[in-house]
């Protein structure tokens, strides 16, 4: 009973976050649509029927249909109502429904995100080994490396990797899309940044666990090496590591946008940047909303993982 109500609060909190994201994105995009120069009805008609078939009649019928002659507040309410029904409208550039375009792009982006998450897991054992011998050369070396990687903006890191693996070594294609090799460089770019953080966090967590009373006790009762770390170290050290995944999620979502643009990888972030340049407001709304909701979903999964690892946690997070 108590358990289920705790889960209820977690779900409710994240649902509220999802509503907030939608409200924020919807409101900003509504303002954006009305701040653009020119007549919105004309623009939408041109997007739907093509610039050649666009006529005053077409614009007028669009105006009637979408209620663009109504007062602003009424239009705003209408826009939010449409959003609540997942009606994202049509792209102003291609004229196709936004949802169709998003489905394809989101698939590509999810592969990229997943690949980089998996690659970044390598940072955790490195951090744990470094933390187990805090102050050693491996600890200092990995710390310096992590600081260096985090001080490089993701796009510079991406270009450096492109230079190393595509130009110097010729192992991987520098950009584009098609095979798994195209996925590797962008995923590695994101993974390095993610691994740098998870390495530092798991190192600190492990060093802290080592100083705790229960760890000292386990050592005094005769446990050694791997057994000690496995039974008393890992799970306790995992708590902050998983909690920091929230910060990682921000890095991942932001990184997807940047890295896709640099590597010309046709995912949702690439589409977003192009929509901003082309001022395709419905597309901007669709892409930002999708990434925002993906962020909420990742956070929900992190909440669940925290509860699973550490059942002592009440409704604190």
């Amino acid at each position: 009973m108590l358990r289920s109500s705790l889960w209820g609060t977690v779900l409710l909190g994240r649902a509220l976050q999802a509503v907030l994201v939608s409200l924020l994105v919807g409101s900003l995009c509504f303002a954006l649509m009305h701040s653009l120069p020119g007549d919105p009805a004309m623009r939408i008609a041109a997007g739907r029927y093509g610039p050649d078939a666009m006529s005053l009649q077409a614009a007028e019928s669009v105006r009637q249909e979408l209620g663009l002659e109504q007062p602003l507040l009424q239009q705003y309410g209408r826009a939010l109502w449409q959003l609540a029904q997942f009606d994202l409208g049509h792209s102003l550039v291609t004229g196709r429904p936004i949802l169709e375009e998003l489905q394809v792009q989101l698939g590509h982006s999810l592969w990229l995100a997943l690949a980089s998450l998996l690659l970044s897991l390598l940072g955790i054992p490195l951090g744990i080994i470094a933390g187990a011998r805090a102050g050693g050369w491996l600890d200092r070396g990995s710390q310096a490396l992590a600081i260096g990687v985090r001080a490089l903006p993701p796009f510079v890191l991406g270009l450096l990797l492109m230079w190393l693996f595509s130009i110097q070594l010729g192992w991987l294609p520098p950009a584009g899309f098609g095979s798994w090799q195209h996925l590797l460089l962008p995923a590695l770019t994101l993974a390095l940044g993610l691994a740098a953080l998870s390495c530092r966090v798991s190192r600190d967590a492990m060093a802290e666990v080592q100083q705790s009373a229960y760890f000292t006790f386990a050592r005094h009762k005769g446990l050694r090496g791997l057994t000690l770390i496995q039974r008393h170290g890992l799970r306790n050290a995992a708590i902050p590591v998983v909690a920091y995944l929230g910060v990682q999620a921000v890095y991942l979502i932001e990184g997807v946008v940047v890295v896709e643009s640099i590597f010309a990888y046709p995912g949702i972030g690439h589409a977003m940047v192009h929509a901003i340049i082309a001022r395709d407001v419905p597309m901007v709304q669709g892409t930002v909303l999708t990434l925002g909701l993906l962020f909420v979903l990742i956070n929900l999964l992190i909440d669940a993982a925290c509860r699973w690892i550490d059942p002592r946690q009440g409704g604190t997070r």
Partner: protein, 284 residues
Amino acid sequence: MNSTVVTSPTTDIHAALAQAARPQPSRWAQRLGWGLLLVVSGFALLGPWLISADPDRQDLLNALAPFGGHDWLGTDPYGRSMLARLAHGAQLSFLLALLTTLMAVVPGVLLGIVAAWRGGWLEKALVALADMIMALPGLLLVLLVIAFAPGHFIPLCLGLALALWVEFFRISRARSAVILQQPYIEATRMLGFGPGYILRRLLLPALAPTLLTLASFAMSTAIIGISTLSAISVGVRPPTAELGSMIVELLPYYAEAPALVLLPSLLIFLLVLALQLISGGRKS
């Protein structure tokens, strides 16, 4: 009335707790950070003033000039002086990031203090606003704001500041709430000192070290943000010399002149590294 009164037992405990919670950056790392910042910001601020070459002046007959000639660091494919472009690009990044940080710190800290001081519905409303902004990853918010006018400075700074002020608001609200309950604040009030005095002499000095850490981190985030957005062509646009867009612009010429790409990358790296070393063990 001196601020040394602060050493009451309760505040010592709070200070000790805060110290324990936050891993202290090592002294030499911070010193290295300040040293680096001094050098790079010196180049960024004094460079454009000392170097007489115009960063936008093209000289196509002198394109891709090597190191050491008249232009010291050579020229780019349009024959523009690399040294001048680097100095102006660094100045732009530095000043825009500083402006963004100020735009985030001032409202963030003031609203945080007001929220902690007044409480009630005002605090609830501000916290709700902060939660709303935190619900979306920062860069997405920045991109949404930039969409209003891509390529202009004001939406760029405004968007970044809008994403960054929340951290200052949250920390200064949480810290002020603890500080304002301390006995020495109550004593100061009973002695008849006004809110202005408490703010200036007690609250802000107590918040200052944390704020410096946060601010240098926020500034490094702003520098990464500005250069990244320019690199994906929604931030500052060519021909303005900007480090991020210079890197992308010069990459195709890597085979002829590798240093052209490496120099702006190195400059961003050093600037961000300096600020992150100063901010110490923050992990975000």
